[in-house]
Subunit: 171 residues, 4 copies
């Protein structure tokens, strides 16, 4: 019984390690980490980004409950929206993902991927506010980072999908 | 029966939390992390839950010494009972487990299992108050989370067993 | 009328919080700090409350730049909106004011007033997250606290005025 | 108008300063601060102490809603009970009062009284966990401190009265 459990764990871990590359385009390549910072996203624009996330989260048969945060390039909160009945823990996680994506200028998926390997354990020592879970994405407009968005409440990859729908509204 | 349940929990938890299979709709059904929040458990009800935990902990030949915490759906403390001669460290752990179970709407066993693998190291970056050790369980009444219970002081699996006895008194 | 109300609030708050007149039953009636908690305000409702605050802040010749936070009865964030060009420090202050108003079930003006006197210095020892500045107001619907709103960015009394405009939309 | 307010503040402050000596026996004299520590209060005994507090809080026409904490001589939590509909902020305050009373071996009223004067502002620098508000009382049995009780939720002097009813059950 414990062995079966262990086996499941291993399988799950392997699946997890291979997930990003297998199911999604290689994010790091697409998003170079030296995109320059621009001025902050406005609050009204942030509200529109979040609206797109909420629509994505509600698309049937989905019924994801998400906390959604938009931060400025420094990681300070610009806009926050907690869908009703979202798990309470997601408040800080969404804000943390957005902050991480803005301050490190990369999707939080990157840190998640690194931490899937033992060699990546050091990531947790970099910054106590770093959240290494998918669902944080920089918002890039005209080649400049104007902020970032963070989503939490569903599974990490779902958080990422919903967040991406919001990020896609910024060009 | 408890073993089978336990195994299912482990597998579901690993799959769900490692993000390995975000597209597999089966996982949420096995371990629904989206149980809606209801109003807080009352203090007197919480006292009854704890009474059941204490009875379980004392059942011969057991002689577990536990700190036991009951929190509301947001993770704020409702009731706390430290059995005499419990290790002092267990105070914060019990409260942390209960808080984690309430705010993440799942047993802390789920996080413990994920962190058994290198791929699960990222869990420690999600929330500084997250306690990834068995012994935190949501309290669900009529399909709504009315709080959570956390136990600490024995081995993690024993904490879980004792806590479950308390959780079982809520339906 | 607003002035009279404001004065009554001040007097009631001072009397109540300084413990000067514990035996005077009149104080609770004037400022009932024991309004029961209800279920959390919804996100969409919170957005409407904030909209009213923003309109109030922009009413010419005003041009107040505010960070505005709405929290649930436990003080967890439901909605946040930072008007463009608001001072960065106001983010945490707005959230802190809302949290204080929800968790203490009273306007933060009450704590500000008490701390205007040397005798009120003790207030700063009550809770490290307490913000004793005007601009945090409970949101009461049908006699129950469904959350609170916090505003920061202008002068404290202006923050309060703007916040009150939002609170007035909840009955 | 502002002047009237200021006057009220002054009056309230004066009342507050004189409260302890005018309405209550001088606590410091009754409770020397060098009472030796004994073994910790048991959990069941703590539960009885809290029961007495709850009864006191409910005595008509009172209807105080209190968070009640009992700690051991080191200030670690032994028992906690939050009466339904207590303000959320009182959780940490009750625990803080109990901890302060145990670790400083004196009623928190003592710190409150000192902080009523400008010369007492230094108290807030002693220990970040010190709570200088009435309602924390050491529990002394046979001349030894076996713990402390802290109450929060009503006005400070009411918290003190309720707590004292609990402390009186320990001799």
């Amino acid at each position: 019984m414990p062995r079966l459990t262990s086996l499941s764990l291993v399988i799950a871990a392997v699946l997890a390690v291979t997930e990003a590359s297998a199911q999604q385009p290689a994010v790091p390549e697409q998003m170079p980490f030296d995109v320059p910072y621009g001025p902050s996203i406005t609050a009204d624009r942030a509200a529109q980004v979040v609206q797109a996330v909420v629509a994505e989260a509600r698309r049937p048969p989905r019924n994801w409950k998400l906390a959604i945060a938009v931060v400025d390039p420094n990681g300070d909160l610009v806009y926050f929206y907690r869908m009703d009945q979202t798990q309470h823990a997601s408040n800080n996680i969404a804000i943390g993902k957005a902050r991480t994506a803005a301050r490190f200028r990369r999707p939080t998926q990157a840190f998640f991927d690194v931490m899937q390997t033992p060699a990546g354990a050091y990531v947790s020592t970099l910054d106590p506010t770093l959240v290494a879970s998918p669902g944080g994405i920089p918002l890039v407009e005209g080649g400049r980072i104007i902020g970032a968005i963070g989503c939490s409440g569903a599974m990490g990859s779902q958080d990422h999908v919903a967040c991406q729908a919001g990020a896609n509204t910024v060009r």
